[in-house]
């Protein structure tokens, strides 16, 4: 070891660099730093693009109705009472109840029927299983609007089969539950099929020997063991129905007592103001409408992610 100030012997001598050159130098030595920087950029981009609309809703909601055109990036005024006013102007609670009721009922119907279908497709061998499964999936590729006119006729009693006219379901939950269940079923069938297929046959056999029927084995053994898959299918169905617009808007007249969901409620605010559309009330109602789904996703997030991936990865 030399104690001399020899540049070739001692520790590396730092060259004189500007801050940018310094950063580049560090990046070459430590590429992880760059990856992290890129991750932040991308993350911030997505956070801004997804969250800014919500922020904008909040700005609109807090701005008093008569100053709505002056709202910029910050609210023009501060009017938090709007979150209470909306419940007074229209029966918004009832609209929320309608939406949650429709979403929950559809989820239950879908999970029950898709469980049976998932059992059949996932665990039984029979001729034509592949084509049948494809047919079920094909339904989910149809644009839902294509079903609207025939269903409208059907649900308004305009279709007679063997002289019996179809029931009049307009303005009842049935007019939405039926198309929702049918449209969102294929996804759940697909998810549950992959999960149920992975439960070892021995467990089902053991349950049947112990005293269940096939159906009993499905609900006592296979479904509990596929909990992540069932939770995923359930949450996805719930969110899809809760967010549905097309049938929700057209199958009722938009009044709360006629089972119109939240979309009907928000649109009511167009007429709630005396001379102009009350954008601030609509924004407040939208924020409140989003809350149940947000809470659900935050609570179930881990299950959904593990459900969607473990379906593919489990042996």
């Amino acid at each position: 070891m030399s104690t001399d100030d020899n540049p070739f012997d001692g520790p590396d001598k730092e060259l004189k660099r500007g801050p940018f050159q310094q950063w580049v130098e560090n990046s070459i030595k430590n590429p992880q730093q760059v990856y992290r920087a890129m991750l932040y950029v991308v993350t911030i981009f997505f956070v801004v693009t997804t969250l800014f609309p919500f922020y904008w809703l909040l700005v609109l909601a807090l701005t008093p109705g008569d100053r709505i055109s002056q709202a910029g990036l910050a609210p023009a005024g501060f009017n938090p009472e709007i979150f209470l006013t909306i419940f007074e102007q229209v029966p918004f609670l009832r609209y929320m109840f309608n939406s949650i009721f429709l979403a929950l009922t559809t989820t239950i119907i879908v999970l029950l029927l898709a469980s049976l279908a998932g059992y059949v497709f996932g665990r039984l061998e029979f001729r034509g299983r592949g084509p049948l499964m494809l047919l079920v999936l094909a339904i989910s590729y149809f644009p839902p609007a294509a079903f609207f006119l025939p269903l409208w006729d059907l649900f308004n009693g305009n279709v007679a089969i063997f002289g019996i006219s179809s029931p009049s379901l307009y303005n009842t939950p049935g007019s939405m539950l039926l198309p929702f269940s049918a449209l969102f079923m294929p996804l759940s069938i697909f998810i549950l099929t992959t999960f149920y297929a992975q439960i070892p046959d021995g467990l089902e056999d053991a349950a049947r020997i112990e005293g269940t029927t096939r159906l009993g084995a499905l609900f006592r053994i296979i479904v509990p063991l596929s909990a992540p898959g069932v939770a995923t299918a359930g949450v996805l169905t719930f969110i899809a129905v809760y967010n549905e617009f097309f049938f929700s808007f057209l199958m009722t007249d938009g009044r709360a007592q006629n089972w119109a969901p939240i979309v009907g409620g928000i649109l009511q605010f167009q007429r709630a103001g005396q001379f102009q559309t009350t954008y601030n009330a609509m924004a407040a109602a939208s924020i409140i409408a989003v809350l149940p789904v947000t809470i659900l996703v935050v609570v179930a997030q881990e299950k959904i992610v593990s459900g969607l991936t473990s379906g593919a990865l489990k042996e």
Partner: protein, 391 residues
């Protein structure tokens, strides 16, 4: 408590017949093992008894009830599976009590029965554990407890020990025998391991190709195999086979000859037969002390030795290794078992003879057994054609 009867049971899958006209009559309290190579239909046979698969034709009776079309839950059976099949989302107590809870038993009764079953299989103190916290042997005990807790008429066990390590398997084997003695229930046991079949069963049902080959007590299967398949399957290492022909003077093959009068055994000259002899019934000429009726000695050469500790298996062949003549079916190779302290070495000449009272003759075409053991008397002194060549 009940016996099990299969009458002409057929199970046909689209392209294969898994069970082919199976007739089985299993008595009350009997321990019967279904044994055979993989894919022989033994597990399918068990599934037809369990009701996990429906029969294509034929009838299944448990006790005096016809159960052919009953679902598994109404058949009064319990089953232990190869993969153990404990319900992973239930603890040991819930697993054992699953069947009782389904049948809406009284809570105290369930408690009493589960505790008793746990005691029988020595699982006390583990009732609150989850299956994944147990060792392989403990899981298997839970599965057995789950089976015995309902007092079924019949136990079905489908290779229950196959997934355990060798030492544990031997241990569980004796436990199962003890359990059978204690419960006196009919047990039907499926295995491909003939050691399990030999040691535990009252009777062994040997199955091949979906057909029942023989159902008899283990020693009968060992000593008087009904056909070539049973002879080759039961016993480890396998029986030696030598293809040959019946002549006026007895049995003859290119390497071996045994002299007897074919008429005494209902054989006719010209018939193709296969001679079967177990390794322990092949002797060196030097150790024939205990053999009452030795055959004529044949010169052979030792190939490799397999010392097992309690015995040595000696692979024998004729002369030097010669590919063209090396046909195991013709008796060019033979396996012999000798005492562990015997003085044998690889690649040495040895003169070999068979215990005539322990040889078997099978029809080569139909594979059915014709003769088990040649009688001592008669032609023992007649010189064999091989004898001249041998010495």
């Amino acid at each position: 408590m009940a016996g099990v009867t299969l009458t002409d049971v057929v199970k046909q899958y689209s392209d294969v017949t898994a069970v082919d006209h199976m007739n089985l009559d299993i008595r009350d309290g009997e321990f019967v093992t279904l044994v055979g190579p993989s894919g022989c239909g033994k597990s399918t046979t068990m599934e037809t008894i369990a009701g996990l698969t429906t029969v294509t034709s034929g009838h299944v009776h448990i006790g005096d009830r016809e159960v052919t079309n009953l679902p598994p839950k109404d058949r009064g059976i319990a089953m232990v599976f190869q993969n153990i099949a404990l319900f992973p989302h239930m603890d040991v107590y819930e697993n054992i009590s699953f069947g009782l809870r389904l049948r809406k038993y009284d809570k105290d009764e369930i408690q009493r029965r589960v505790e008793h079953a746990a005691e029988v299989v020595q699982l006390e103190g583990m009732l609150k554990r989850q299956p994944d916290e147990l060792s392989g042997g403990q899981r298997q005990r839970v599965a057995i407890a789950r089976a015995i807790v309902r007092n079924p008429d019949v136990f079905l066990m489908d290779e229950p020990l196959a997934n355990l390590d060798a030492k544990l398997r031997v241990h569980m084997r004796t436990e199962l025998q003890r359990l059978h003695k204690q419960l006196e229930t009919t047990i039907i046991y499926v295995t491909h391991d003939q050691a399990e079949a030999m040691t535990m069963s009252d009777r062994i049902a040997v199955i091949d190709d979906g057909q029942l080959q023989q159902i008899d007590p283990p020693l009968t299967c060992y000593n008087e195999p009904a056909n070539l398949f049973v002879a080759g399957f039961i016993g480890s290492p396998s029986m030696n086979f030598v293809e040959g022909e019946v002549t006026a003077g007895g049995f003859e093959s290119p390497r071996f000859a045994l002299s007897f009068d074919p008429a005494d055994y209902g054989l006719s000259p010209g018939q193709s037969v296969t001679l079967g002899v177990r390794p322990e019934d092949v002797y060196r000429e030097a150790d024939t002390a205990g053999v009452t009726d030795p055959s004529a000695p044949v010169p052979m050469r030792t190939d490799v030795l397999e010392p097992m500790g309690d015995e040595i298996f000696v692979h024998l062949r004729f002369g030097e290794a010669d590919e063209t003549m090396d046909d195991p079916d013709a008796g060019d190779r033979l396996l012999m078992s000798v005492d562990p302290d015997a003085d044998v070495a690889e690649d040495t000449d040895v003169s070999v003879l068979l215990d005539r009272s322990r040889v078997h003759l099978f029809d080569t075409d139909s594979e059915e057994a014709l003769v088990h053991g040649l009688s001592a008397s008669a032609t023992a002194s007649t010189p064999d054609p091989e004898e001249a060549r041998g010495d």
